[in-house]
């Protein structure tokens, strides 16, 4: 997409030839591993998201007086609100570091398909969100004495996080390029992400109050549909968002 077919490389090969240019999969993987290794050196993002999540849970504890009766009904809501807020924090930060030191320009100059940049960033955002969730879940289980370690619940959480980061990565890329930057992301993201948050809350709430899988089939299916639709759209329009 970003390579011009008329130009050739120094050795005369076509710029899009596979020998010199990494495939979409390889390029995506390179971006993900760059983000992850940078993160695992500093733990800036994950630790900020994690502390923030725990604070949100503590605030909810006081705000809602989470005694045993109330808790059963609102567990899923509290969890997803926490994930959504922490997710916004992570999305903002992960795009801001690209923008701040001109790394984004570097990425755009790289001879790879731009959708590789989108998938790379989206995957690493997803990884951060999942890592935070993987820590929050046991802590929450411990603090409130509910068992959150169930395969079906984890599947719902993964699907919800995929949808959230798919559209979140796209909107974060837009919001870091505006004057309001970080402030704008939640305003742009929440109204568009309402279907995914709603169905994730419904599905996890159903599971936590003891419904069988068949009963939450509708929200579960909506999650899958939302994920597919929004990954496809973000993939199609990402080019327009990074164009210079």
């Amino acid at each position: 997409m970003n390579t011009k077919p008329t130009r050739t490389n120094d050795d005369g090969t076509h710029p899009s030839s596979f020998a010199r240019h990494p495939s979409l999969f390889k390029a995506t993987f390179a971006i993900v591993s760059k983000d992850l290794s940078a993160e695992f050196r500093s733990f800036e993002l994950i630790s900020a998201m994690l502390v923030f999540s725990l604070l949100v849970i503590i605030i909810f504890n006081f705000a809602l007086e989470l005694d045993i009766k109330v808790r059963e009904a609102v567990n899923a809501g509290v969890l997803w609100t926490t994930f959504a807020f922490a997710g916004t924090l992570g999305l903002n930060r992960s795009m801001a570091v690209e923008k701040d030191r001109g790394c984004m320009d570097g990425l755009l100059l790289a001879p790879v398909d731009r959708s590789a940049i989108y998938f790379g960033k989206a995957l690493s955002n997803l990884a951060f969100m999942l890592i935070v969730e993987a820590i929050v879940l046991p802590v929450y289980s411990l603090l409130y004495n509910v068992n959150l370690f169930r395969l079906d619940l984890i599947a719902v959480i993964i699907l919800g996080s995929i949808g959230y980061t798919a559209v979140g990565t796209l909107l974060a890329t837009m919001s870091v390029q505006t004057r309001m930057r970080e402030v704008l992301l939640p305003i742009l993201l929440f109204p568009v992400a309402i279907p995914v948050l709603l169905s994730a809350v419904k599905a996890s709430g159903g599971l936590l109050t003891g419904s069988v899988f068949a009963e939450i089939a509708i929200p579960f299916n909506i999650l899958v549909v939302y994920d597919v639709i929004f990954i496809a759209i973000a993939f199609m329009v990402f080019d327009f968002v990074v164009e210079e």
């Binding site: 390029q177 505006t178 004057r179 309001m180 305003i187 109204p191 279907p195 709603l198 509708i218 639709i229």
Partner: protein
């Protein structure tokens, strides 16, 4: 400043006339509804504004896609005009609905699927304006705006579907007794008022869009003059 084109002048006058006629039809001509009484008369404007509101959002999404394909700034202006006018009309719809809900449902607001979706949709387009004001380059503003209208245009119907599905599972439902159900019990005179309101608001909508497009032109001219002066 260029004077308004004659066709626009005519359209302005026609808009005022059809609005007046529509108000007359809604307030005096249409028979009083048996159960709800006079307050049901708000229905005609409620539906009229809702219709043009949604029409504008659909037009905006189409204009957004057209902009991304053609990169013609005209489509961007069209998109802004449609979203701006529609956001106002849609807000009027929500307010009128609230006025109607107070006597009919005994509350200003319920979290019924339609109401919730309306509120979310309105918020999407408020966010759209905030996005646009944050970007200085016109070309980038147009691109981001188009992408966001596209996302919003797809997300809003899904939100409606989602909430509706969930509410039908759970028995605590305040029936969505607006629009379609109301229409079924309409008498002939009510239908006249109803369809005239739709027509009237469509005319007003076109008139407003036209004005908004002219305003964009003028804004462009002012920008260019400013540039000239500063150079």
């Amino acid at each position: 400043m260029q004077p308004r084109p004659i066709a626009l002048k005519i359209l302005d006058v026609v808009s005022i006339i059809v609005l007046a006629i529509s108000a007359y039809l809604a307030l005096f001509f249409a028979p009083t509804e048996l159960v709800m009484g006079d307050v049901q008369r708000v229905f005609y404007f409620h539906i009229g504004t809702a219709w043009v509101g949604l029409l504008g959002f659909v037009i905006a999404a189409i204009a957004g896609i057209s902009y991304l394909v053609t990169k013609n700034m005209l489509w961007d202006r069209f998109e802004v005009a449609a979203v701006e006018v529609s956001t106002v009309f849609f807000f009027i719809t929500i307010v009128l609905g609230s006025v109607w809900a107070r006597p009919a449902w005994n509350t200003w607001w319920t979290w019924d699927p339609r109401l919730t979706t309306a509120a979310v949709t309105e918020l999407i387009y408020v966010a759209y304006f905030m996005l646009r004001t944050g970007i200085e380059e016109p070309e980038k503003r147009a691109r981001f705006g188009a992408v966001y209208t596209l996302l919003g245009g797809i997300s809003a119907p899904i939100t409606f579907m989602v909430i509706r599905l969930f509410r039908t599972i759970h028995p605590i439902v305040v029936g969505s007794a607006s629009g379609t159900q109301e229409k079924m019990g309409m008498t002939g005179d009510m239908k006249i008022a109803f369809f005239f309101a739709l027509f009237a608001f469509t005319v007003i909508f076109v008139d407003m869009i036209w004005h908004r497009l002219r305003l964009s032109d003028l804004q462009d001219k002012v920008e260019q003059l400013k540039l000239k002066v500063s150079m």
